[in-house]
């Protein structure tokens, strides 16, 4: 199964990565190579096999409901590209 340029444009948009037509064409060829390699796993019969989303079995450990964090805004915002009054600034958000 081969991807199309439309597929590349669609997933690049989903992933919010700007891509030029030229890049899209090159990417398409690479992705098709990769997917040709991936297709090999389709040959195995996996009927009834429980998917393994994690190497560890068992359940999730839980945390007690307690406030353990204190305000560390200054340090947490020091890497912000744009900020004012303790807020991160972004181009206007339209809902």
């Amino acid at each position: 199964m081969a991807l199309s340029l439309d597929d590349v444009a669609r997933i690049a948009h989903l992933a919010r990565i700007e891509i030029t037509d030229d890049e899209a064409r090159r990417t398409l060829a690479q992705l098709n190579d990769i997917f040709a390699m991936i297709e090999r796993m389709q040959a195995v019969d996996t009927t009834g096999i429980e998917p393994m989303s994690h190497p560890l079995g068992g359940g999730q450990r839980l945390r007690d409901d307690a406030v353990t964090e204190t305000d560390n805004r200054e340090a947490n915002l020091r890497n912000a590209p744009a900020q004012q009054d303790g807020l991160f600034l972004v181009p206007r958000v339209i809902e």
Binding site: I38, M41, R63
Partner: protein, 485 residues
């Protein structure tokens, strides 16, 4: 023998005997780092920070509060976030990023008194097998500067091989510790998934990412690993087990050990030079009393397709946080909000992360999830089950780490699939989450090092390290130093 050729274990004894001080060691390695800048192994070095830590370590020793690691220098792969050094994941996206906290692996080692030399180059977001994907340039292989040091932990492997750091942290998602260790002739150890905390490791593929070490010997690995890993309540996937001394089985003899040799690891792609060195090493194990058992891991070869679905899927989501809003690169010119995010990501992320993000977005997208992601997870289970079955028959599994010795710069860079095949023998163990390691076992074409891979059952690191140590007592491959270092 020069001091910088000594193992960590020896340096530890010298510190304890007050033959050297932490400050002297720090100066020694800082000078070596400075003198070997052409390797491009380090991305951030701050001597004032390092020397302050060394002075503190010496003070601890004076106060009678020193452990076996106090005062020993270490360098950290730039996947671990650190307060005192920039944390970039070798990406433009995070250029100059200063973390407000330390990774647990880093803080555990600092608590033990280790002194940080700096941050090590790697493939961007740990994605790669040659370190050619770093935004900050290639790292050279000390054995042959025209060869890659392996990846993604190429800075870690090159630094330890060049003896400009006596030990380095590294991370392994599909082979990122073992493959560079093999390519540079050092000992690379990946513990069981869930043993080391992932808190503060910049995530690539969360169900696979495992912190580990590059060292000069298995003994060194055991020493540092005991302090580095342990239960961390900040990581939901951290395994809650009591602390272990991984050196406890170092002296156990190999007599009667059953070593499984998977026939699938000696197939078509394996280069004769690598095969010869690996077979020789297996012969050594036999001479030392171990029993070789033929085993089969029929679906191991499907590890690559499975991995290139699972890892990109997880990374496509893990790397979504790099949107230029709260930190990281923000494009200079943009239109609206969406355009800002798209341009920031396009400019900030390199080609390989982008490629994997796109693969991941595709396999998770509507209508493809079952055919790719679910299928990959099912085959992943088959592979893990084959390991479980194999460990009913044997104590350890041994085989090659890579199909070939280190390749030259640019040889595979244009062909992602050929590059992905570098991890053919390391990916199956990553998918299962078992501990495994690479130890030097000779040299192949162009005098480049060959690694032997050892794999053990879940949580059986001590036995694996013991088997590696016994081999290193009988051979000196691990003690070979590249010319000029």
């Amino acid at each position: 023998m020069s001091l910088h050729h000594e193992t960590l274990a020896t340096l530890s004894r010298k510190l304890a005997a007050r033959e050297i001080s932490a400050v002297e060691l720090a100066h020694l390695y800082l000078e070596r780092i400075d003198g070997n800048r052409d390797l491009n192994a380090f991305l951030d070095v701050r001597p004032d920070v390092t020397l302050a830590q060394a002075r503190a370590a010496d003070a601890r020793r004076k106060a009678g509060d020193a452990g076996p690691l106090t005062g020993l220098p270490i360098a950290h792969k730039d996947i671990f976030v650190t307060r005192d050094f920039a944390s970039t994941a070798s990406s433009r996206m995070l250029e100059g990023y200063m973390s407000p906290f330390d990774a647990t692996v880093v803080s555990n080692l600092a608590t033990a008194g280790m002194v940080t030399l700096g941050k090590l180059n790697c493939d961007e977001f740990a994605m790669g097998s040659s370190n050619e994907n770093s935004a900050y340039g290639n790292v050279l292989n000390p054995w042959d500067k025209s060869a890659v040091p392996g990846g993604s932990s190429g800075g870690s492997s090159a630094a330890v091989a060049a003896r400009i750091a006596p030990v380095a942290t590294a991370t392994d998602t599909g082979g990122s510790i073992r493959e560079p260790a093999a390519f540079t002739g050092v000992t690379g150890t990946k513990p069981t998934y869930g043993r080391p905390s992932r808190w503060g490791m910049i995530a690539f593929a969360s169900s696979l990412d495992t912190a580990g070490l590059m060292t000069l010997s298995a003994e060194d690995a055991a020493l540092v690993l005991s302090a580095m890993v342990g239960f961390d309540p900040k990581d939901s996937t951290s395994v809650d087990r009591p602390p272990e001394n991984f050196a406890r089985a170092l002296t156990e003899p190999l007599r009667g050990r059953r070593i499984g040799v998977p026939k699938e690891f000696f197939g078509g792609g394996l280069q004769p030079d690598v095969e010869a060195a690996v077979r020789e090493a297996l012969g050594t194990y036999q001479r030392l009393g171990a029993k070789l058992i033929d085993i089969s891991l029929p679906n191991a070869a499907l590890g690559i397709p499975v991995y290139y679905v699972v890892a990109p899927a997880e990374c496509s989501s893990n790397l979504s946080r790099f949107d230029g809003v709260r930190y990281g690169h923000r494009a200079r010119d943009y239109g609206d909000l969406t355009d800002m995010i798209k341009k920031s990501r396009a400019e900030g992320l390199g080609a390989e992360p982008k490629r994997r993000i796109l693969v991941g977005a595709y396999v998770l997208s509507h209508g493809y999830y079952d055919a790719y992601y679910l299928k990959a997870q099912q085959v992943r289970r088959l592979i893990a089950d084959e390991f479980r079955a194999a460990f009913e028959q044997c104590d350890l599994i041994a085989g090659p780490v890579t199909t070939s010795v280190a390749f030259g710069f640019g040889e595979k860079a244009a062909d992602p699939v050929a590059m992905y095949m570098s991890d053919l023998y390391t990916i199956p163990g990553s998918l299962a989450g078992i501990p495994s390691m690479s130890i030097p076992c000779g040299f192949g074409a162009h005098g480049r090092p060959v690694g032997l891979q050892l794999m053990a059952n879940y949580f059986d690191e001590a036995r694996m390290l013991g088997a590696a140590h016994q081999y290193q007592l009988a051979t000196d491959w691990h003690a070979r130093v590249p010319a000029g270092f």
